[in-house]
Amino acid sequence: MEDFGIFYGSQALDLDAGLYVVHGENGRGKTTIINAIKWVFFGRFEDRQGRTVDPKGILNRDAKREGSTKFSVGLTLTDDDGVKTIARRTWEASGDGGLYVERDGKPLNQAEAEITLQNYLEKNVARFFLFDGEQLREYEELLFEEDEATQSEAVRRSIEQILGLPVLEQAITDFRAVDKDFEGKITKLARRTGKTEKLSRMVEQLETEVAEARKDLKGLEGLRDAEQEKVDQAATVLQENEAAQELVNQMEALQVQLETLTSQREERVADRKRELADTWEDALAIAVAPRREALEAEVEAHEVAARAAYDAEQIERSLAKIACDLCGQDLGDEVVARLRARLDQIELGEAEDGGHDPRQELAALLRITRSGAISRAIAFDERISEANTKRVGLEQDMEKIRDEIGRAPTDDIRVAGDQHAKSLEQIGAIKKQIEDAEAAINEKERKRRDLVQEISSNSDDDGEMKALKERDKLAADLADLFAEARAGFRDNLRGQVERDASDIFLRLTTDPNHLGLRINTGYGLETIGPNDEVFPTRSAGQEQIVALSLIGALNRNATRQAPVMMDTPFGRLDKRHRAKVLAFLGEMADQVFLLVHSAEVDEADLKAIAPHIKEELSLKRIDSFRTEIRRFEANG
């Protein structure tokens, strides 16, 4: 590395087969070493948020202060045959930087250079060899997807690439192409005889159409892959910010509540206003109530008096006649005495005549009635007060959440969420188009084959034609043979990966209820317990162990072996798991490179595996912008 990141000047790591442990505190450059490797292979790398790091910021600061305008990373790879590949990628502020690759002493041109590096470590495959324990999200998408339909195609393909399946797939493609080639020759030959000229022309027409259709199909596939990358990037951002996302959701819910509350309050305000306009009637009724009651009493008294007067009149008439006024019967002395007493009583209670007619006044007042407007106005006012209180409460809650969200990039999260959904939709649509396109192509191919068949059977079997037909059949057979082998092979391999992953998992897990791992067609892994039950959730530490199990299994079954580099692989593991993982790591690959900090792994942990450690190094802080790679000293 030259002036790369925190590594000032020229610093190198000379690695052989074996287990290396590099100690470094946070910020001392552990991740930078892995990024340096990514830099050579891909010309870029991402930060923790999944964003591509601007090269300008990679140049070592001290070097920059001294006037340097470039940095570079060189990598020497030796394969099992001893062939050395040297690659160096340089960045120059002026834009002059580039990639230089030499294989077996011979410099390669740009295209060959990029392809060679791709052969060694393709981007999608990198995650299985450059393992960042902190960035579990990359593995979560791999390990959590039970739904094959949403499982990233790219991930599945990259695993199959490690396992070597592309060889078989390409063989199928190649043989089909050769087959077509021979068919083309057959067609041309048949044309010469004239009998089958028309058929030949139809074949050629179809071939042209198919070629066009394949071009379009490639375009569609490109679009699909582009959208998938957008999905992956968005998923990364979302997972990184899950907690913030949750807060954003809460915030939005509160916002909705606030809006509902506000509109309800406005309605109540309008209601209150309406009722207030009518309160005067209510108040007026209250005002006149005492008077009304008084008048009612007067009217009552009047009526009582009137009744009494009438009674008195009746009695006086009876007394005058000394006979009942009603039935004419003679009154006895006793009755007369009673009537007289009664008359006295009545006369005592006669009402005064006030001189005004209370009934008319009362009738006028009775028209003034309570409408209930005041009570209703009061009720609405209370509701408005409640709403005000609630609003204050909501605003306080929202304020709290706003603080918590803090510097989380809520806009980025929202954008990522939208992008994720949008791109998934796009992918769905494009996939359908791809399906249709493939179906159409297959249909045309079928027709073409039928036509070629017809040509073949209608043409004379001279020596040349016979030979061509034989070769054609051979090519077709080979294509079919590889196709069939591929299907079986893939299933076997997946089974093998499952067995190996399960095997490793059982060595690493500490939970006695874990009985193994199961793999689905998307290479997602499920933890299996007693009675074949699937564990629905896994802790972060368990995720890491499952990820390690998959990586270990892939390494065991890969067609090519690569070094495995791990940055803080123990971050989420407890002591027991750590011990188990440490014990296993040495066997994961021929070359294993562990980057750890002191809180993750202590002397005791390492002592247990000391015999397996090839070398221990440390990243020594020189100053804020400089780290040096040194041999590890226990007290250093």
């Binding site: 078989l168 390409q170 050769v178 051979l474 043979l481 590889f482 069939e484 076997n492």
Partner: protein, 63 residues
């Protein structure tokens, strides 16, 4: 290349399918084309490889 065990398994699978369903395909041709495919597995341009396969098939036919 450590990958031999994986490649061996692939070849085994191919041979088994051949014996079972495609006995007319010559064994040695199968081995040869498989080797070719392995060498060319990272080529993005398939033209040259396909040309070689074509020639192989023609040669075998001539035997």
């Amino acid at each position: 290349m450590r990958g031999s065990s994986a490649s061996e398994k692939m070849l085994e699978a191919l041979m088994a399918v051949r014996a079972d369903k495609f006995p007319s395909v010559p064994e040695d041709l199968l081995v040869r084309v498989f080797e070719l495919e392995q060498e060319a597995q990272y080529e993005t341009e398939r033209g040259p490889t396909q040309a070689m396969l074509r020639d192989l098939i023609v040669d075998w036919g001539d035997d």
